[in-house]
Symmetry: D2
Subunit: 352 residues, 4 copies
C-alpha cells in the first residue's frame, strides 16, 4: 500500500509498505479525513529522534476495514474517530490512574510515529480497538470530529492541568491550533480574562472568537512585563502551547505564588530550560510546573465530541486549508512544513 | 433605623432597631440594590429555626458609610459588593482550607440572619471588611453584581462540588435562580449535555439560554426513568438545586458509579433522606454525595465578577421583577414569598 | 473438578464443575492459600442476590497452571497473588480514571461470585492475567500476601476515600478484619488519634496494636455521644467498616463540617439509610459521604505488598485460625459463617 | 531588650532593640526553647537578601507576656507553640485556599526575618495570635513541640506536595533535619521503600530509624544512576530537601512519567536550574514539579502535635545539641553555622 512520510530525516516522500495486519484486539482503518500536525513535520526534520521509512500522521477519522477476532464493538464499514493516543489499557501507568498517555513508558500510549506507521496511508492500524475507537456521531461533521483527536484533546489537557477555575486570569502562550484550543478550553472552564501571546492575524482573530480578551505580541517587548502591566501583577495560570526553553522561565515569572504553569508544548530535543532560582521563589513559591501529553482512548474523545454535539464549541474553525484526495496529503504536509502566515490547520478529505 | 424582617415566626414586617456599630475590623453599609431570597422567606416561616425581631436579607450591593479603625482598604462612599458569606478568616475550619462557609462552626461564616440583622435595613454591618468586601467594578451594573453574592456563588459551588468536566452529562434538578446559575455554571465548566428538571415556563426558557439541552418535568412521570431514558443510562453528575428528602435518592439513582451528587438545596428541618441501600450500590458504588454552603469572601466574589466583566455570563437575566425605593422591600419580599409563576428573582433599587 | 460454594441459597456444599478454560488473555490458577470472607457467607445466605451452584471464594494466593496465548508475563508454575478485583481494563469507567472497581458497570470489576466461580476450587479463572496477577515476592509469606487482596485493599481504600491527613482524629466503626486494616491504614497515613468502635476482645487487642488510641463500645451507650465526649466535639473523618443502615447517620452526626464519611461496609439489600436533614446540616454541611469497592489490578496489589516487604505493616496478624488441606475449606467457611468471638480471619493452606 | 541576630551581612552578634508592642490582634512572647535553623545562618550570610540590625530566629516555644485588646484565646502566662509561618489570615492568597504560606505575596506569611525581628530575643511579636498560636499540650515536651514549627511542618509539607501513597517508592534527597522529617513523614503516609541521599553517619542512622530503607551517597557516583539501579527504574516520587540547582534536574531524571518532584529546599539566590528538555520528556512527561514553603497557623501545628501526642513520631531525635540559658543562643547559632558532622539540630533552653 501507499503512504506518505519520512524517507529519511529531512526527506519527506511517498512510501510503499505492506498493508498492516490486525492482532486479535486490533482494527485496520482506512482514513476519510486526516490532518497533518506540526509534530509530523517536526519528526520529519529529526526533532523527535532518528526515523526512516516511516509513514507519518496521527490525526484521522476513518472507516473500519478489518478487525481482530476479539474485537466486539466494531465491524468493517463503521465510520470512526481515531484518538491520536491509543493506550495499551493494561499498562502499568494506566493502572496507577493518571494521564493515560504513558501506558508502560513515557508517551508509551502514542503509538503512531513512535511504535508504528501513522495515518497518512491507505490503511493504518489501531491497537485495542474496542477501547480506543469511537463511532463518528451522525450529527458531527468528520472534520470537526477530526479536531478532537489531538488539537482539542491537547489544548484542553493544558486547561485541565492548569485547573482553571471560575473568573481566573489565564495566559495562553502560543496560539497555533493547540493554543487556540487552550483558549477555547479555558473559556469553557470558566476563565475570566484570557490573555494570549501571539502575532499572526488569522490566529489572533480566531483566538478572540474562542474567548481571548487581550493579545500580547513579542514584537512589542518583553511579554512578562506586558502581561504583568495588563493584569496589574501576576496571573492565576499560564498555559504554554508554543515556545522554546525560555518560555518556561517567562511563564513562571508571570504566575502568582500558588499558581500553575501548564505546558503542552512539545520542545525540541535541543532545548534547555534555564530558570534562575529567584524566579521560582528560591523553591518556596508553591508554583506548580506541570506538563504532559494528552490523554487518549475512546471515553476521552466521546466527551470532547459531546462538546461539539451540544454546541459548546466549533473546533472546525481551525481548518483554514482544505485538500481533496489521498494524493493531496503531500501538499497538505508540505504546507504544514512551510507554515504560511494564514495557516492554522490543513485537512485532507479522502474519497475511496 | 428601619429594617424589614421577621417580627415573629410567620409574621413579616417593618422593625425599628439601633443603627449597627462597627468593630475595629468592620464596616457599616447602606444598601443600594438588594434582593430577597427564598431563604429569607423560609426563615420567616420558621424553616431555619426560631427567630424574632430580626431584620432579614443577605444579598446586597451598597455603599460604605462607616469603617472600623483597623480597616484599610475601604472608606465611606465606596460602592461595594457584599458576599452573603463573610467568614471570620481566623476561624478553625478556614485554616483547614476547604469550604470557608464554616469558619468556626457549621455555616458559621453566614452571619446575616444567623448571627445578626440582615441587609434589608437602612444600614447593615459587615465583619472583617478588608477581607469580605469588594469594590463594585465600574463596568458592571449593580444588579448584575448583586447576582454574584449568593445566586452565582451558590449555583457555581454546586458545579465545583460536582467536579464537572468537559463533555459530561449533567443533570440539574430545580431551576429556580440557584439552579439556573448551576446550569450556566455547568456550561461554563465544559459540560456537554445539561438536562434540567423543572416546569415553570419562564425558568425553562432561561435555562435553555444558559445552556440546558433537555428539559424534564415531574408532570410527565418519574424523573429518574425519564432521565435514564434520555441519557441512555446513568449520567455523570447530578446537581440538586431544589426538592425535598426524596430528591437525594432520585439523584443517587440516576448517577453512574464513580459519579457525584452535588447538593446546594437548603432542606427543611423536617425533611428526611430515606435511601434504600441498593440505590447506593450497597455502599459499594463510589458515588460521592456532597453538599454545602457557598464559599464567601472577597476573592471569591471578585472571580465571579470577572466572569461578568469578561462577558462569560449575564446573571442579571435572573431578575424578573424590579422595585424602586427602600420601602418596596416589603413588596419584593412578599412577592418572593408568594412565588408567582413568572418570578425568578426580584430586586429592589434604593436611592438615598 | 471440585469446588466449595453455594448449592442453593442457604445451603453451602461441595460442587462438581468443569475445569475452567482460559481465554487468550486469561490464566487458570490453582489455589495455595485461600481465605473465606464474610461476603462469601453473606452470598451463601442470599444477601447479594440469587445464587446457585456457584463456587465461592475471592481471596487467594496460587500457582499458575495454564495461560491464554496472548499472556506474556506469566507461565505455569508461577506463584501469584490474585486481587479480588480483576478489572477488564478496557472498560468504560476505567477510562474515566477513578476507582477501577467498576469497569463497565457497578462493581463490574469484581468477577468472582458475580460473574463466575470463585477461588474455593481446584482451579479458578483470572481474566486479563498480565494486568491482574502479581508474582508473589520471595520475601513475603503467602498468608501475608493473601491479606492484601481484599482486607488491606478494602481497609486502606476507606482511608484513601477519607483523605486522612497528618494528625487528624479518625473514627473507625467496626473492627472486623477490614476495619482493622482501616485502623492500620489510618495510622500509616498519618492519623493522630484513632477511635475505634468495637467490642470483641481479640479485635480490640489487635486494633490497639495497629494504632487505635481509644475504644468505644455500643454496650456503653450511644456511640455518637461517647465519641463526641472523647474528642471534645466532632471529628475529622469517620470510616465505616461495619454496621447497618443506622451507622451512616451516626457517622454523619459525629464528623465536622468539611469532614468526610467514608464507607467500605457492604450493606444488606434490605438496609435503608434514614438520615434526618439537620444531621447533614440541611444539605449545607460540606460533609462528603463517600463509599465504594476497593480498586483492583496488579499495580494496586504490588504497592500493598511493598508495605509488607518494607515492614510498614504485618497484616498476617488478622489470621487467627489456620487450616491445612483443600478439603478444610468447608471447615473454614463454616467457621466464618459462625463467627466465634475469637475469630478474625481463617486461612486454608493447600498442598497439591 | 537583647536579641541575637545579624548586625550586618556576615556579622552575627547581640543587638539592643526596643521591646515589641502588640497590635490589637497580636501577642508578645518570651521564648522558652528556641532552635537556630540553617535559614537563620543563611540569612546572616546574605543568602536571602540584604539584612542588618535584625534579630534572627523563627523557631520557638514560649510564654505569652502581653496580648492585644482583641485577643481572646490567650493570656499572659500561657505556654505556647509558635508556628514559624504566621499568616495574615485575611490575605488574598489565603482566600484562594491553597498553601497559606503566601498570604498577600510570595512567602508573605513568613513574618520573622522578612518583616520583623525574630525569636532570638527576650521578647518577640506574633501577629493574629488567636489564629496563629497553640497552647503547648501538657503531654508534650517543649523541645518536641519545637520541632513541629518548622522542621516537621516543612518536611511533612514535602510529602503532602508529593502526594505520597501506599507502597510507593520515594526518594528523599538531603537528610538534614528537614529531610529527616520528610523521611518520617513519608513513612507516616504509607510509603513502601524510602531511598535517601546523604552521607553524614548521624543523619543516616536517624534516617533509618525514621523509616529509610536504602541510603545512597554522592561519594559513590552519580546518584541518579545509583537510584535507578536500586529501584530497577524510575521511582514514584522524589523529595528535595537539600542540594543546589543541579538537584532539580537529577530529581526529574529519576522520577517516573506521572510522578511528582516535590521541593522544600531553600535555594540560594545565585542558583540556576538548568534542565535539558529531554529530561522532562520534551514537556510531555506529566511529571509535576512542585515546591513551596510550609503552611502556617494554629490548626496546622495542632495536627502535627497530635502526631507526637499519639506516639506516631518523636521528632526530638533531631536535637543533637542542647544549650542552657538565653546567652547560649550565640553558641547554638555559631554551631549551626559551622555544621559539625554530628550536628542535626541544636536547641537552647531558656529559664527566666
Amino acid at each position: 500500500m501507499k503512504g506518505y512520510g519520512v524517507v529519511k530525516i529531512g526527506q519527506p516522500g511517498w512510501l510503499e509498505k505492506e498493508k498492516p495486519v490486525p492482532g486479535p484486539l486490533d482494527a485496520i482503518i482506512r482514513p476519510v479525513v486526516i490532518a497533518p500536525c506540526s509534530s509530523d513535520t517536526h519528526a520529519m526534520h529529526g526533532g523527535s529522534g532518528p526515523k526512516e521509512n516511516l509513514i507519518l500522521g496521527h490525526e484521522a477519522v476513518g472507516e473500519v476495514v478489518e478487525t481482530g477476532n476479539l474485537v466486539i464493538k466494531f465491524k468493517p464499514g463503521d465510520k470512526v474517530v481515531v484518538p491520536c493516543v491509543t493506550p495499551d489499557w493494561t499498562g502499568r501507568y494506566i493502572q496507577e490512574g493518571k494521564y493515560n498517555a504513558h501506558d508502560n513508558t513515557m508517551m508509551g500510549s502514542f503509538k503512531f510515529l513512535l511504535a508504528k506507521d501513522g495515518t497518512f496511508a491507505e490503511f493504518f492500524h489501531v491497537n485495542m480497538a474496542d477501547a480506543n475507537l469511537v463511532i463518528l456521531p451522525e450529527e458531527i461533521a468528520p472534520e470537526a470530529a477530526l479536531m478532537t483527536v489531538d488539537m482539542m484533546s491537547t489544548g484542553f489537557h493544558a486547561v485541565e492541568l492548569a485547573e482553571v477555575g471560575y473568573g481566573e486570569v489565564v495566559v495562553v502562550v502560543g496560539i497555533g491550533p493547540v493554543g487556540l484550543m487552550s483558549v477555547a478550553g479555558a473559556q469553557l472552564r470558566g476563565a475570566g480574562r484570557i490573555i494570549v501571546v501571539g502575532t499572526r492575524p488569522n490566529c489572533v482573530k480566531i483566538a478572540k472568537e474562542y474567548g481571548a480578551t487581550d493579545v500580547v505580541s513579542y514584537k512589542d517587548g518583553d511579554i512578562v512585563k506586558q502581561i504583568k502591566d495588563l493584569a496589574g501583577g501576576t496571573v492565576d495560570k499560564v498555559i504554554i502551547a508554543g515556545g522554546d526553553g525560555k518560555t518556561l522561565t517567562q511563564a513562571i515569572s508571570m504566575v502568582k505564588p500558588t499558581g500553575i504553569v501548564s505546558n503542552v508544548n512539545y520542545y525540541d530535543a535541543s532545548d534547555t530550560f534555564t530558570i534562575p532560582a529567584p524566579v521560582w521563589g528560591l523553591g518556596m513559591a508553591n508554583i506548580d510546573i506541570r506538563g504532559g501529553f494528552c490523554p487518549g482512548g475512546a471515553a476521552r474523545i466521546e466527551k470532547l465530541l459531546n462538546n461539539i454535539k451540544y454546541k459548546r464549541i466549533d473546533p472546525s474553525k481551525l481548518i483554514t486549508h482544505r485538500f481533496d484526495g489521498f494524493e493531496k496529503i503531500e501538499d497538505a504536509f508540505l504546507l504544514m512544513d512551510k507554515k504560511p502566515a494564514d495557516l492554522i490547520k490543513p485537512a485532507v478529505f479522502i474519497k475511496w
